[in-house]
Amino acid sequence: MTFTIDVAFIIKAIIILLIFGITLLVAMYSTYGERKVAAFMQDRIGPNRAGPFGLLQPLADAVKMFFKEDFIPAQSSKWLFILGPCLSMLTALMTSAVIPFGDSIKYEAAPGKVWDVPVQAIDVNIGILYVFGVVSLGVYGIMVGGWASNNKFSLLGAIRAASQNISYEISMGLAIIAILMMTGSLSIRHIVEQQHGGNWNIFYQPLGFIIFITCAFAECNRTPFDLPECETELIGGYHTEYSSMKLGFYLFAEYINMFVSSAMISSLYFGGYNYPGMDWVQAQLIGSLGEIAGHNVATLIGFLVFFGKSLFFVFFYMWVRWTLPRFRYDQLMNLGWKGLIPLAIVNIVLTGGAILFLKPLVMSFLK
């Protein structure tokens, strides 16, 4: 039996590698996507010289950054200066571990013995809390880097990032609590499974969704909440003093964060890999391809659906960025503390009320 366990292990390892690989690749091409989306929205063409349609643009940027002079400002804390981007990158990558990218892959180890490997790096039963914990650490990368740069603008950027992230985490958490009340589980996989078919949370939690996505924008430091790095005010914000690949890490981490939060949005509110009519599709596939292959192909389709949803939200991030002006610091705080937190609490109360009173009513009506 050791043999079969090993295969399952290998599948798992491949999935994990795949997930990280995909995350990195998506982040890499998000930079290209950002430039193209920006260009298209501005009636331009965007990068098209590096390779066909400019597809090698991210590679060119990466190679250039690697061979750029690595600059560490004098009188700054050297180790912290290096630690900053590393932390950013690390925390950004860690989040993708608990996101269920797909249903599961079945593997028949021996006749009658089927292994069922979920397409997820690790399914912890406190998945959401894990994401939350890691995201809340993400700000350290920015703070440490900004402080270590020993530059006024960087420090201002770092401080803005810190206060912004703390403030918006609260309403984000409150928005999620409403979801948790509905699902009764902290495991993201569990939450996704509950939205089977077209039974997505967005239909029950529209307000929660708006709060969550706003907070996600703020957590990723994207326009209209890009105060920590806004070019016209703080030059580059926390990464003003960074050059070469350390800057690359920061920029990269931002895009990973974007992708991960898009994946979170689609898992929590848009059913992850679920789509209407998935049972029918699966039944058809199993009917034509057999039990195991059919299931696996259905998983693949689910994965693609999930991927499509996530990419749409990545696109949405960019769409918003190239449309809206940004807030001012105090307005951002006002929105967070005076707007979103009360709204999120109202949302919790409403959800609670609905679960207590509306749900039995609807249930009895349905019966």
Partner: protein, 192 residues
């Protein structure tokens, strides 16, 4: 303070409820940008596609020759005087016997230099020239330089190349106006 009866108040700072909750305006904005996303792009792919620079673009200088290939310039110096950047310098010389096929007038510019980095392409030299000898080409730029010592162009670069002559529809603004009024689509030609 009102000084005239033409003033018009344009700034309304009261927000309606719809404006207060951000979302409608955001949706409008998103609608506008996504519309542009699918619109035709206006970009000109420059090195491959070149835009028409207009009929009177002031580009690279050329010292005109007449149809026999003789230089028109008579080194009167008006262009140098008219140049606000003082970029033109010249040395005049008397035409010798046997040089009639080279120079049209009895005096000519033995040295005619323009500092291409000083030049501001204002067109005053072209306007000042009584002999219509200097022109700013409407179809070509001065190329970029990588060395400081390339920037002073002498007659070797300025004088018109007889094998590749500079063509123009109208050589004076009066001529251009006449063509325009009469609606003539003139052919580009070499000479005035």
């Amino acid at each position: 303070m009102q000084l005239t009866n033409r003033s018009k108040q344009v700034s309304n700072k009261q927000m309606t409820f719809a404006e207060r909750i951000y979302l409608p305006a955001i949706a409008t904005g998103l609608g506008i940008t996504i519309k542009h996303f699918f619109q035709k792009k206006v970009t000109i792919q420059y090195p491959e596609v070149k835009k028409n620079l207009g009929p009177v673009f002031r580009g690279r200088h050329v010292l005109k020759r007449d149809d026999q290939g003789r230089e028109r310039c008579t080194a009167c110096g008006l262009c140098a005087v008219a140049c606000p950047a003082e970029a033109i310098s010249m040395v005049a010389a008397e035409r010798q016997k046997g040089e009639e096929n080279l120079y049209r007038e009895e005096k000519y510019a033995a040295v005619y230099e323009i500092n291409m980095l000083r030049c501001i392409f204002c067109g005053l030299c072209e306007e000042a020239c009584p002999k219509q000898a200097i022109y700013l080409r409407h179809d070509e730029f001065v190329p970029v330089f990588t060395e400081r010592d390339q920037v002073i162009w002498g007659k070797d670069l300025l004088a018109e190349n007889m094998n590749n002559r500079y063509l123009r529809k109208a050589w004076t603004k009066e001529e251009a106006r006449e063509q325009d009024i009469k609606g003539i689509d003139a052919k580009p030609r070499t000479q005035l």
